[in-house]
Subunit: 309 residues, 2 copies
């Protein structure tokens, strides 16, 4: 009856970039190690971006080197262009994420490009990885529901973006991102069902990326799952947010979503006790803005719950 | 496609009783008035209980008197026994709520009675209201998913409780209450579907009462709605909790759930801007423990969202 779920941890990328003060490379690596040890099997571990533009990611080569021969989990990095994709390949990564926004206004604010320029950039990225066997591409469609500048994003705009993406990359995972956290579970369910009805190549798959700013985090992920989506993005401790989406204070907390799947008959493979210890460590990073429910529950009360059949 | 939703506001009962310091009667009345003005059409406005046991409800007669001829909304009160039911009728109420727990341990801690004693008490309440035409009874089944003392509550225990209730009161609304907030959306959806398959009198109807302690508040209410349940309990500002359920810090916030239904095609009839002003007032009550997402979002960002079609 239930389809499998893949929890994608984005705190080391979407989360760490939201913290202005530098995080020691050693701490980043230990946190990623802790997340893998807790059972996470897909993680975005950072970005190959210009250190001038995003100084928080300047140590990306060192982190990539540490995890180079690690086969425990699927590790990906965000890349803004073909150069980033080359860097990812050079450093032994087998999976990259490319982001652009469905809405012009947010794309301009987020990556200083028009949507068309971003699609041209995607073509260059696809070209850069085209000779690399078994290399995975994910495309994150930011503002796939709602834009902080333009408001509601029409489904036609999402469909048009998906058509452009699948023309260039028939075998990619496309994530619809609720960048602002303003989408409701009804909207998520409807839109995630709608994209699955589109005529896309059979090797194109789907994901949902949500935020908990409006308290819809778990509800929206559950709605996406109910709509048939198995790949769900979260960030341990609820770390994250988008600097160009006012009020978007945090990704949905990994621990909250993992809790939602407890005793559901659907295995996440993640140990909640271990995960919470890593989430505590993330929350202790200076200037970290976190938003988790489970971390605020007395641990004893929760562990009793986790022992239940 | 969608069935209607009835949002039931319980802050003046489940919420106010959680605040130790006395709240002036005038403030309580103004808050209830504010909630009705915001569009709430069902509210639990307090309890007819012993002022010695629950001093916070000692002004219940004054509050009942104020709203005696108010026909704008369905107003109910919680009663622990037949005497409370008589008080409610004397004061012009047309609707009462009777609570007991499915689990023995929580019922003993909450109302100092065995489940059997509580069911006998329900028989007395039913008898007290039996000659009153068009008088409504709701039965809240506390710990219908999980007990703070006994852990997971088996469905057989819930079914047995429902059978006892419907034997005594064929025409009542039965609320399954996630008292601890530990239920997950999968569990809520499964159990709310299961109760609707039980052989109960056709005049028996269903409701869901949830808490947001574990971050499942909106997700669980959405899951209940998806399972066909139209009556959902919430408390403005997320005020509430159960003194005998450790870690149960707050009801699901009315504003968060109302937000979830925005633009869904399902009308709650509630104006979010007005509701948030009342939630702000509730949050300002000394010692109020609140838990709302929407109240933490910059109001300007949210109002932009609320203007969307």
């Amino acid at each position: 009856m239930h389809h499998p779920v893949e929890i994608v941890e984005v705190a080391p990328r979407d989360g760490f970039q939201s913290i202005a003060a530098p995080i020691p490379t050693k701490a980043k690596i230990e946190i990623i190690e802790g997340l893998i040890d807790a059972g996470l099997r897909r993680l975005e571990i950072g970005s190959f971006v210009s250190p001038r533009a995003v100084p928080q990611m300047a140590d990306m080569p060192d982190i990539a080197r540490h995890f180079r021969s690690d086969s425990r989990a699927r590790l990906s990095v965000l890349v803004p262009n073909a150069k980033g994709a080359e860097m990812a390949m050079t450093h032994g990564l087998r999976e990259i994420v490319y982001v652009f926004s469905v809405s012009e206004a947010h794309n301009q604010n987020n990556v200083r490009q028009s949507v068309q320029q971003s699609i041209d950039g995607l073509a260059n990225v696809v070209s850069a990885i085209s000779n690399e066997p078994d290399f995975r591409l994910r495309v994150d469609l930011a503002t796939a529901f709602d834009c902080p500048f333009d408001g509601a994003v029409p489904f036609d705009a999402v469909r048009a973006a998906i058509e452009r993406v699948t023309d260039l990359a028939p075998a990619c995972e496309i994530a619809l991102c609720d960048t602002t956290g303003r989408a409701t579970p009804f909207a998520v369910q409807e839109r995630m069902r709608a994209v699955q009805r589109l005529a896309v190549p059979p090797s194109c798959t789907w994901a949902f990326h949500g935020h908990d700013t409006y308290g819809m985090g778990v509800a929206n992920a559950f709605a996406a799952y109910q709509a048939g989506i198995g790949v769900l993005d979260v960030a341990a401790a609820g770390l994250g947010g988008c600097p160009f989406a006012p009020g978007a204070t945090g990704n949905t907390a990994t621990e909250d979503l993992v809790y939602a799947f407890l005793n559901s008959g659907i295995s996440t493979g993640i140990d909640l006790v271990s995960l919470l210890l890593v989430a505590d460590r993330i929350a202790a990073i200076p200037d970290a803005k976190v938003a988790s429910h489970l971390r605020n529950v007395p641990r004893a009360a929760m562990q009793e719950r986790m022992r239940q059949p």
